[in-house]
């Protein structure tokens, strides 16, 4: 009930393009949105660009948010579409992409011998080897792990963000979880 009131208020404010509301939302969601973009793009500068562009889109398309779903799910969906549009424009040739590694497009990771931009950012503060493990997981699995276990979105909300069926979300989660667990185990053993 409280969530609905809050989301309805956000929806009304976005329709009016209320600048104070937008300022508050940017403050409130900055960490979560930046973290999501960083995990998805694997690059700090790019994540920063997409962060700003996402909020511009929120301003321009705010009338499309109806307040019936969580605001963050809508926000992540906008951010994700921006990243996918950009990847399409770059033909997704050089870096970690959000394409499904089990389909036709092979996933091409950055050189694993060199620290990736994601690793460099994460390693500044984290003493665990989770960052090293995460960078070895395909972006498509990293993304679902972040949405489920960091953002704590429900599976149906994730399906909305990712525009895929529930079964696909679940299978990516199982594979991602297994990949993370084995990468961490490998990291701990070495």
């Amino acid at each position: 009930m409280l969530m609905t009131d809050e989301t309805k208020t956000i929806a009304r404010g976005l329709r009016r393009r209320d600048p104070d509301l937008l300022d508050r939302l940017i403050e409130q969601y900055q960490y979560r949105l930046f973290r999501y973009l960083l995990y998805v793009t694997g690059n700090k500068d790019r994540a920063e660009d997409f962060f700003q562009e996402t909020w511009i889109r929120v301003l321009e398309r705010g009338h499309q948010y109806d307040g019936k779903s969580k605001f963050e799910a809508w926000l992540f969906a906008i951010a994700r579409h921006l990243v996918i549009d950009w990847q399409r424009s770059k033909k997704a040739q050089s870096l970690d992409t959000l394409t499904d590694p089990e389909q036709d497009h092979p996933l091409q990771l950055a050189n694993e011998k060199e620290p990736s931009p994601l690793h460099q950012v994460l390693s500044q503060e984290s003493e665990e080897n989770v960052q090293a493990s995460l960078q070895r997981i395909p972006a498509i699995y990293r993304e679902v792990l972040v949405l489920r276990f960091q953002e704590e979105l429900q599976i149906d909300e994730m399906a909305g963000v990712l525009c895929v069926p529930l079964s696909t979300v679940k299978s990516r989660l199982y594979r991602g979880l297994e990949a993370l667990r084995s990468q961490l185990q490998r990291g701990a053993a070495s």
Partner: protein
């Protein structure tokens, strides 16, 4: 213990964390984990992985929120400035269409009369009448296309230098 039992346990361990499991399965799993060191170890590794994922911290770039707020406010100002122009455009189009509908029978006669006077084939003056009708729609389409082109040009910075 058979491989099938371990397989079921591993599947339930993942399922419990991803979407939850029924109580009967949960009880079965608990009993199995008390007896099976391999699966219990698997649970510890999985939970450790999730705990690390949940607690992994990332530093935010300096001034990210304030820079974004500034850009958003600038864009909001631009949009507000364009709003009256846009309203005027739609109002003009609406008036133009309304006038077009009201005057259509007279304009049709005018085109027919002009066609007869000048000897222009019927098809040509009928096409002329159609064009006269379509002018407001064509005008709006051109304006919208130009706006889209400008918006895409503004977003090009996103694609440059990468």
């Amino acid at each position: 213990m058979s491989a099938n039992v371990h397989g079921r346990a591993l599947q339930l361990i993942a399922q419990a964390r991803v979407e939850g499991i029924a109580e009967a399965n949960s009880n079965w799993l608990r009993a199995h984990l008390e007896e099976c060191d391999f699966c219990a170890e698997h649970v510890r590794h999985t939970d450790r992985a999730l705990q690390l994922l949940r607690t992994a911290a990332i530093p935010l770039p300096d001034g990210l929120a304030s820079r974004t707020q500034f850009r958003v406010r600038l864009r909001a100002m631009e949009l507000r400035e364009r709003e009256p122009q846009r309203r005027a455009l739609w109002f003009t189009c609406a008036v133009s269409w309304a006038f077009g509908i009201a005057s259509a029978p007279y304009v049709w006669r005018l085109f027919a009369w002009f066609g007869e006077r000048t000897g222009v084939p019927k098809l040509v003056w009928e096409l002329g009448f159609g064009l006269w009708w379509a002018i407001p729609a064509v005008f709006v389409a051109v304006v919208l296309l130009m706006e889209n082109a400008r918006r895409e040009a503004e977003q090009d910075w996103m694609r440059q230098g990468r």
